[in-house]
């Protein structure tokens, strides 16, 4: 009897233990399932997130492509606009400069002194406007990488002489001495005649513009396959800290008296770029209130590139 009771108790204990075990396992399983579900939720969320980010990336890539296309189209439009603008601006200027010129030539009839004086003012302003248009066109072409340098043989000495003749009336008007020293060996240059003349004219007219007393000296020698052209003036000069600024576009250095000198401030940066394209270079030395010297070097037989 006792034995039977004992066996029953043991069985009951075993069943209870099994039952508790089962309950615990169920609980664990339930916890595990909940965790599993959470994990799945996270996984799903992560997948959605990746998908979303991929979508965003795809979008921004497309936007970038579109922006690039827009930028290229805008650039082309800018070039076309400049070409048209240049043409449109020159057409009325042709009339202004042309009719002023023939009136001043006396082709239409005699002028009195006052008429002549006023027409000369119109001519000066019209030529100034033309120079501004040309400068803006040049710098745009340079920045677009579209400016081409042509090459032909031409007489450098004659070119310098011609430019000196153009500038002489201005130096005489300001009471400046204009000294010219071209070495005997200076002769033919294989380069872009128009652009070389543009550079020399720019340096010489700058010298005249920024010099109020003293002299301007232009010299040219041949050295190591290069022509070295030097334009020196005794003008206002440039402070040391401003020298690097001189060749940047639109930087007419503040001379203390703001905008006293007219000009776009494009001339020197154009000269520098042109010379780079020709395989030459330009350097400047200057002393504030003492004067400035520009030294240009151009390969006599064209650049190697």
């Amino acid at each position: 009897m006792l034995m039977a009771l004992l066996i029953f108790a043991a069985q009951a204990a075993l069943i209870a233990a099994l039952f508790f075990n089962l309950v615990r396992r169920r609980r664990t399983e339930r916890v595990l399932m909940v965790k599993e579900q959470e994990l799945q939720k996270h996984r799903d969320h992560l997948e959605a997130l990746v998908e979303e980010r991929t979508q965003q990336l795809r979008m921004s890539n497309m936007e970038m492509m579109q922006a690039k296309e827009h930028a290229e189209a805008a650039d082309q439009m800018k070039s076309a606009f400049l070409a048209t603008m240049s043409h449109e601006l020159r057409t009325p200027l042709n009339s202004i400069i042309g009719f002023t010129g023939i009136l001043l030539q006396g082709l239409v009839g005699p002028l009195n002194d006052e008429q002549r004086k006023q027409l000369q003012m119109v001519r000066t302003s019209a030529n100034h406007l033309l120079a501004l248009i040309s400068d803006i066109l040049d710098i745009s072409e340079i920045e677009a990488g579209k400016l081409q340098i042509s090459r032909e043989n031409f007489d450098l000495r004659a070119a310098i002489d011609k430019i000196v003749q153009t500038c002489r009336p201005l130096t005489e008007k300001k009471g400046l001495r204009l000294e010219v020293a071209i070495a005997p060996e200076v002769g033919e240059l294989y380069s872009d005649a128009r652009r070389v003349e543009q550079i020399i004219l720019n340096l010489l007219s700058n010298a005249v513009k920024f010099t109020d007393a003293g002299s301007i000296n232009i010299s040219c020698v041949a050295a190591d396959g290069n022509y070295i052209i030097r334009v020196a003036d005794t003008g206002i000069g440039v402070k040391k800290e401003n020298i690097d600024e001189m060749f940047k576009p639109f930087r007419q250095i503040d001379t203390g008296i703001n905008r006293m000198y007219e000009g776009t401030g494009l001339g020197l940066s154009i000269c520098k770029k042109l010379l780079e394209l020709m395989g030459g270079d330009i350097r400047v030395e200057s002393e504030w209130q003492r004067g400035t010297t520009f030294t240009v070097s151009i390969p006599a037989k064209g650049s190697q590139t």
Partner: protein
């Protein structure tokens, strides 16, 4: 500028008494046409005019000019096409054509020469050198070709 002012007057005074060179100006802008015509006539040239490319070619065939001044941006037919067409016509193939144009972008000069022009004058024209540039082309022709 006073010294150089009358240079062209002197030139033409001597040369125009017996033979008058005939110049065809193809230009659509009223004022520019007036300007060029005025300068040329004052210097003793006979001037014919055309306002567009096709009219220019017809006029050239009709009057056989000694020189053609050709604008590039023209209605109906542009200056490049005019120059190319004129160069295909045997009796006009040697007539000097000078492009007078305000196209001044890189390569424009080369394009006019490639189309068959002999010279290139950039607008705005410089009235102090314009006649010299024109007469230079006329002289080249007089030296090279046989008579007018």
């Amino acid at each position: 500028m006073a010294a150089g002012d009358y240079v062209y007057g002197i030139h033409t005074g001597e040369r125009e008494s017996d033979m008058k060179s005939r110049i065809l100006v193809i230009e659509d802008n009223e004022q520019n046409l007036y300007l060029v015509k005025f300068i040329l006539e004052k210097n003793g040239y006979e001037v014919c005019e055309a306002r567009d490319g096709r009219e220019g070619i017809e006029m050239a065939e009709k009057i056989k000019p000694d020189l053609i001044l050709l604008d590039i941006q023209l209605p109906v037919m542009d200056g490049y096409a005019v120059a190319r067409t004129l160069r295909t016509k045997p009796d006009l193939a040697t007539v000097p054509i000078v492009a007078v144009t305000s196209y001044a972008m890189a390569g424009d000069r080369e394009k006019t020469i490639a189309a068959g022009c002999n010279g290139y004058i950039e607008k705005p024209i410089n009235p102090d050198t314009f006649m010299q540039q024109v007469e230079q082309q006329l002289c080249l022709r007089a030296d090279g070709g046989e008579g007018k």
